[in-house]
């Protein structure tokens, strides 16, 4: 992180990172499959946290409600770790290669969420659709929160799902959707 902030991701060589960590370059690649992966280490934890949160939601809850709860819990960790993850976001935002990797991680997490919904008894088709669209709303809320940190991530999340509902309902009554 130090090096990525100082000189940017592209101008930082694997040898430099290894040197800063006091190890050999080869050793670096034994700990991380590639240079990008360094910034996406906690993925396994986030995955299990998300899946557990979906699994622990009350029985009769609608899919989107279960997702909303799960996202809220993750959001709490997100908001707390902000001083730590803020520079990380900045680096990712300005580096296309890192954004690609981030999207891949998100796709993987979306698949995990779909699996969690299936375990709740939801059909495979609806589980996939709910996971994809729910994740999309989640990401929208996160971006809105970054742009407007005055309101809480929780509030942005609530609004995102409410707006999604309005959009979906308006879609079949053939009325233009209002802006908030």
């Amino acid at each position: 992180m130090e090096l990525y902030q100082e000189q940017g991701f592209d101008r930082t060589t694997a040898a430099e990172i290894a040197a800063r960590a006091g190890v050999n370059e080869r050793t670096f690649f034994r700990h991380f499959p590639d240079k990008r992966e360094v910034l996406f280490d906690g993925e396994a934890e986030l995955r299990t946290a998300l899946m557990r949160a979906v699994a622990e939601a009350p029985e009769g809850l609608a899919p989107f409600e279960a997702l909303l709860r799960a996202f809220r819990k993750s959001a709490r960790n997100l908001a707390d770790n902000r001083p730590f993850s803020d520079p990380r976001w900045k680096v990712i935002a300005v580096t296309p290669a890192l954004r690609e990797r981030e999207l891949a991680k998100h796709a993987s997490l979306t698949e995990a969420v779909a699996e969690a919904l299936r375990r709740r008894g939801l059909g495979a088709g609806l589980a996939d659709l709910a996971a994809r669209t729910g994740w999309a709303a989640f990401q929208h809320a996160v971006q809105a929160w970054i742009a407007d940190p005055a309101r809480s991530l929780d509030a942005h999340l609530t609004q995102a799902f409410a707006d999604l509902r309005a959009l979906a309902v308006a879609a079949l009554s053939t009325q233009a959707g209002p802006e908030h």
Copy 2:
């Protein structure tokens, strides 16, 4: 494409591609920024087609309705070019590096769709949300279509948006969503 099919993406060097095309390796990199980009060439066309389709939708149409129309048009091209794009999908599906690039392209196209919705007068917030979730539903439909080509992509698209509406409505009445 020939080489990627024969030996896979990873085991195909840029020098081989250049040789097969009868040019120098350096020349190859003057036409494509990198090895992956070869498979994502028509992106600009798809982007303009999508944005035009969204722009040309009737005035008072709800955001999701406009998107559904645009996706339908793109879907038509998709279904027609299937013999050409089918091997392409297979190569992408088994190559993580290519799936990452594909996700990046999708993110870029989603942003373009959001811009098109904004030009229809939709607020920036709702435009982003509608583009993200609409695109998610689109991708869900495409995947469902690949898994079940018996039904048309059009049918899958219609169902995806109908299911999304059901999911969103059920979310606030706190009822478990039914599976089709």
